[in-house]
């Protein structure tokens, strides 16, 4: 290999890339809102968690779509409770938004009430889903009966777990609210909870058609 003179070597040095415009440098903060990154570390963490959950359900949904195309696919009669349940869930995402709206207007009592109501609605939804499972069982449709019934139980079961996680988080936020730790200026836990809650409300279960 040829030995390269010092001068030649220096000419080869590639200049460092300039800093990206737009304050892209870090700020040395604790990752709270208002740093150089547009959202706080809590929000980012939550979105990452939601991305993982979306991918989990995307994997399951793609399996659903593939298998639905098979000649062996058999539809089942879906339990009638499904629609009222869905309505309850949509209602609960509404009340949690109302709770968020209340804290913004500094109506702390209203915030607590709406929050508690959301939790209760969430629990009603879970109870409703369990009742829907019972309806299916009474109709003689079990987990292994057909591909669609398998998907129905697995997807609703996982969705229920997802919601139980949400209810636990909501309980934690409510606990904070009761101790008056949430204020107009600082209610990030509630915001995170609402984001988590809004997400499954927007994405309805695929196996209902």
């Amino acid at each position: 290999m040829p030995v390269i003179s010092e001068e030649k070597r220096n000419r080869r040095i590639v200049p460092p890339p300039p800093v990206l415009p737009g304050g892209d440098g870090g700020d040395g903060g604790a990752g709270d809102f208002g740093g150089s990154f547009p959202i706080s570390k809590g929000q980012l963490g939550l979105w990452i968690l939601l991305t993982a959950i979306i991918m989990l359900f995307a994997g399951l949904s793609s399996a659903y779509i593939v298998l639905r195309g098979l000649p062996t696919w058999q539809n089942i009669a879906l339990p009638s409770l499904l629609w009222p349940n869905t309505a309850v869930l949509v209602l609960s995402s509404l009340t949690i938004e109302l709770s968020k709206g209340a804290v913004r207007k500094n109506q702390l009592q209203a915030m607590k009430a709406w929050l508690a109501l959301s939790g209760v609605l969430g629990l009603i939804f879970i109870a409703g889903q369990l009742a829907a499972w019972r309806q299916l069982v009474h109709a003689g449709v079990y987990l292994p009966s057909t591909l669609q019934s398998s998907f129905f139980y697995v997807l609703t079961g996982l969705h229920g777990l997802h919601l139980l996680g949400g209810i636990a988080g909501l309980g934690f936020v409510l606990f904070k609210a009761m101790r008056n730790r949430l204020t107009v200026f600082n209610h990030e836990p509630l915001k995170l909870c609402a984001t988590y809650w809004r997400y499954p409300g927007g994405r309805r279960r695929r196996c209902t058609n």
């Binding site: 590639v14 460092p16 870090g26 793609s62 399996a63 298998l67 058999q74 591909l147 398998s150």
Partner: protein
Amino acid sequence: MHEPHTAEHAHPQLGFWRKYVFSTDHKIIGIQYMITAMAMAVVGGTLSMLMRYQLAWPSLLSPTMAKIMPDAFAGGVMKPEFYVSLVTMHGTIMVFFLFTAVLTGGFGNFLIPLQVGARDMAFPFLNALSYWVFLLSCIVIFSALFVEGGAPLGGWTAYAPLNAIPAAGPGQGTGMTLWITAIALFSVSGLMGGLNYITTILTLRTKGMSMMRLPLTQWSLLVTSILGLLAFPVLLAAGILLLFDRVGGTSFFVPAGIIMNQVPLMDHSGGHPLLWQHLFWFFGHPEVYIVILPAMGMASDILSTFCRKPIFSYRMMVYSMVAIAALSFIVWGHHMFVSGMNPFLGSVFTLTTLLIAVPSAIKTFNWIGTVWGARIRFTVPALFAIAFVSLFVSGGISGIFLGTSAADIQLQDTYFVVAHFHLVMAIAPLFAAFGGVYYWFPKIFGRSMNMTLGKIHFWVSFIGVYSVFFPMHILGIGGQMRRIYDPTQYDFLKPQQPLNEFITVAAFILGAAQLIFLFNFYWSIFLGKRMTERNPWHATTLEWTVPSPPGHGNFGDELPTVHRWPFDYSVPGEKEDFIPQTVPATVVAH
């Protein structure tokens, strides 16, 4: 020796358990990951030695082995089921519990806060939880070796329907259920880790540390974590469905009319085994990049340090990493060319697969550009980093053959594939990880490893891996099947048997060389040469500006401010041939 720390030292007197075991300090968690993964590597490595023994001397009667493992060596010869369970456990342990864990969990944990200039991860408790769930998953997978029926037989890819049916073989009962559980736990642990890595790199960078000033190690960890975030949940979904097929009686992956051991399976109907392959490889191909990307990042930084030159084309290094990651989600079909897929679809996957060779080649040329004309300091980490490039190229070239569907129909499921993926996803990352250990050891433990032993370790390993894996291409072209238990059972493979024996001898030497490394590692933790210098390699990144090992909170009273990119080596007109990232720009004379 005590650095003045303030707020971060609110709890200086943590007991041994809180400080070294149930710690939330990213450095301790990184070390825990590293040491656990190394223990798993010893298990996985031992299994591979048994496999090589069997392949070289398949019908050799061994009373000793019969005595040590009476179940596995009934009558002195290894049982076929046992061989396949070795293959499965070896692959699983190495892919997940060694490489995925040590690169992101080990190096990622230790390096992310130190290199971006943060005091710890964004969510330290979650970080600790991630390690403990990982440890649990290691225990679960390890226990599969000892349950009734033994370890699972289905390979690390766990293809359905055989893996969906407990009656399919001895290890397919409890063993396989443990396998799924361990992989599910591992996925959850990996997601908790990844959540931390992404959040920390994006939101906790110190003043002046813009994205384009991140060391390439950090970029690679960021991209890898995003890949993991998108890929692991799909594996988890597939695993959940597989578990239901096994314990819930569902038939997601099991078609009707399967006859197993002469018994027709009556209670399954209507599923599709290929669905598993699609889900698995949608995860599986990104997974191979989850392993190689951090290795690429670390090797890039180490190469630049020891070439005393900036990395060649930093921006292209970043962009090509992102391109590889994006493309890795649309190539999975190249693992399924012989599954009966539509030939047109096969050509599409060929195209996307060959496309991914472009950013890979860009990276390779950039490494060559970095080394070109440099006065390389041939330290042990530098040797490993250079060898990484060599191994990556050797393994990548065979990938182009395999990615061409016409050629792959011949080569699929032969030792050619075994050679390819070992070189590119096992040995190349292994060498980068070794380089990383020798390089960061002084920072991690405050002592240095013995470099003479390191050189011996390097040269024996380097010659060893090529002796083991290069001839496998020839075996594969000659027709030796992957996962075969006894090559001599086919007449047409018999002439190749001396090559198998050669490989096994080389593998034993290679295995022995790793004992040197293990000895050196543990000996140096306690008795290695103490580091007096913070920056023994004269490197530029932030971790070298703090004491070794860094104290709790990493950076003393004040976080550092970053003024430049991490590659200011041999800047013209400077006295020193490196400028740390913390040195203000005004110092540079132009």
